[in-house]
Subunit: 146 residues, 2 copies
Amino acid sequence: MSENEKYAGLKLENQLCFPLYACSKEIIRKYKPYLDEIDLTYTQYIAMMVMWERKEVNVKTLGESLYLDSGTLTPVLKKLESKGYITRKRSEQDERNLVVTITEKGEALKDKATCVPGKIGSCVNLNADEAKILYDLLYKIINSMK
Amino acid sequence: MSENEKYAGLKLENQLCFPLYACSKEIIRKYKPYLDEIDLTYTQYIAMMVMWERKEVNVKTLGESLYLDSGTLTPVLKKLESKGYITRKRSEQDERNLVVTITEKGEALKDKATCVPGKIGSCVNLNADEAKILYDLLYKIINSMK
DNA sequence: TAGCTTAAAATAGTGTACAATTTAATAGTG
DNA sequence: CACTATTAAATTGTACACTATTTTAAGCTA
């Protein structure tokens, strides 16, 4: 095997993970100006997306939805609580669980956030078919790693 | 427009960015045990990949390759220097530039790292065609955002 | 029911990321 | 040549992200 072949896998351009990592970061960077307008970071935004759908959820379930653990979520949720978008309270049935509940202010934020996905979509240069293919491939990877 | 339509874009499952973000994180997590063996974090690993290719590079160029700025790279490079894989030295032609150079120990690490891409590849459940399609779509997005 | 195990969050510690600012060096211009 | 503008890293401050550990609560069993 030549030197080139031996080390081919170690080139950035031959990696699949690197463009995933770079693409993810760059799109999140694109979100920033729009999320700044509603005073959310990207992590806070995806946490709110779950809250807008579920209204009430414990930290474990939220973490499973977002692929994040309590080490990451605890400070994020405390921040969202301090902004008045959610409340945090131990479950009465099982006090190990912390129940996160959306507030009215949190619900109201949803209307301000509706424009965000479209604005991002318009700066990602893929047509609907390509986006669907990409989406399916990403979930194929994610689901195969569970 | 119905409530459902109005808010459809705000569901995690309808976002393209979220699976990108999740997929990137989960694959990087898969790297960890293999990178632990050679005592590198993922960021240190991709920085070393550039060094293995280029031998010598300044921080700005390295940052353009990795989509990272000096704020992120400075501590990463100091760490790699402390591990003996690179040296950091101001350019004599233009002292604003910091020249990063790979050491012999850094070169030697390349051999230990050759097995990493294959091990990751085998836990990403895509065939060669799918991987190629994904790769091309990711770079299409990345390049369209420049 | 006391003791062991499991489970859910929180905490501690390390390492990115990134925006904004600062510092130092170089380039460009009247 | 002095002055201004630009450039490259480093620094500062905030916010994740993750591993490992700790704390507290609940379930389980001899």
